[in-house]
């Protein structure tokens, strides 16, 4: 069975750019270990997936979101 085409959640919300300072939004596109959700799973369009990757990496540098969730040491 063919799955219906997924629409990009970011386009749908009407936003054109993703903000690296908005950790609440970014964390919706992370796996439970803190990896970036692939576009295959997030349904993200190519442009937003690229923006997402950059935004998440910046947010990680700023300690807004962890590199690895649940890692303490």
């Amino acid at each position: 069975m063919r799955r219906p085409a997924k629409t990009c959640p970011v386009c749908e919300s009407g936003a054109r750019v993703l903000d690296y300072k908005d950790d609440r939004t970014l964390s919706r596109f992370l796996t439970e270990r803190g990896k970036i959700l692939p576009s295959r799973l997030s349904g993200m369009c190519a442009r937003h997936q690229r923006q997402l990757a950059t935004a998440i990496k910046r947010a990680r540098q700023l300690a807004l979101i962890p590199y690895i969730k649940g890692h303490t040491a």
């Binding site: 936003a15 750019v17 993703l18 919706r28 796996t31 799973l41 300690a63």
Partner: protein, 120 residues
């Protein structure tokens, strides 16, 4: 040539607010000298818990500054920020041309739950 930039500073949360303001003024003076740059906006997020330890600290005081400046002013400014012991970490990026807005929708959450099942 002048561009729009954005800096996020993470200060040591042990610093008092006046000390942080004093440091910010010092950094920003480097950008605004000769009238080649303007600070358009500074917002203090205040104390926040860090997602992981930075320089053995659990919390940091976040400040976001937006400014317009000539590119040749940046190296000196960045050097001053980097050398400051009170700054745990900083990020200087070119500001995006469009204003980002929050993407917090219920739809995304529902979709993600469905996706987790797929991944399993």
């Amino acid at each position: 040539m002048s561009r729009r930039y954005e800096t996020v500073y993470i200060f040591d949360s042990a610093l008092e607010e006046p000390a942080i303001t004093e440091k910010l003024n010092r950094f920003h003076a480097l950008l605004t000298k000769d009238g080649n740059g303007t600070i358009s906006n500074t917002s203090h997020w205040g104390k926040r818990t860090l997602a992981y330890k930075v320089k053995k600290k659990d919390t940091g005081y976040y400040v976001v500054a937006e400014f317009q400046a000539a590119a040749n002013l940046l190296p000196e400014y960045e050097r001053a920020v980097r050398l400051d012991e009170g700054v745990l970490r900083y990020l200087i990026v070119e500001a995006s041309r469009e204003q980002p807005k929050a993407v917090v929708t219920a739809g995304v959450v529902a979709e993600e739950e469905e996706l987790d099942e797929e991944e399993a």
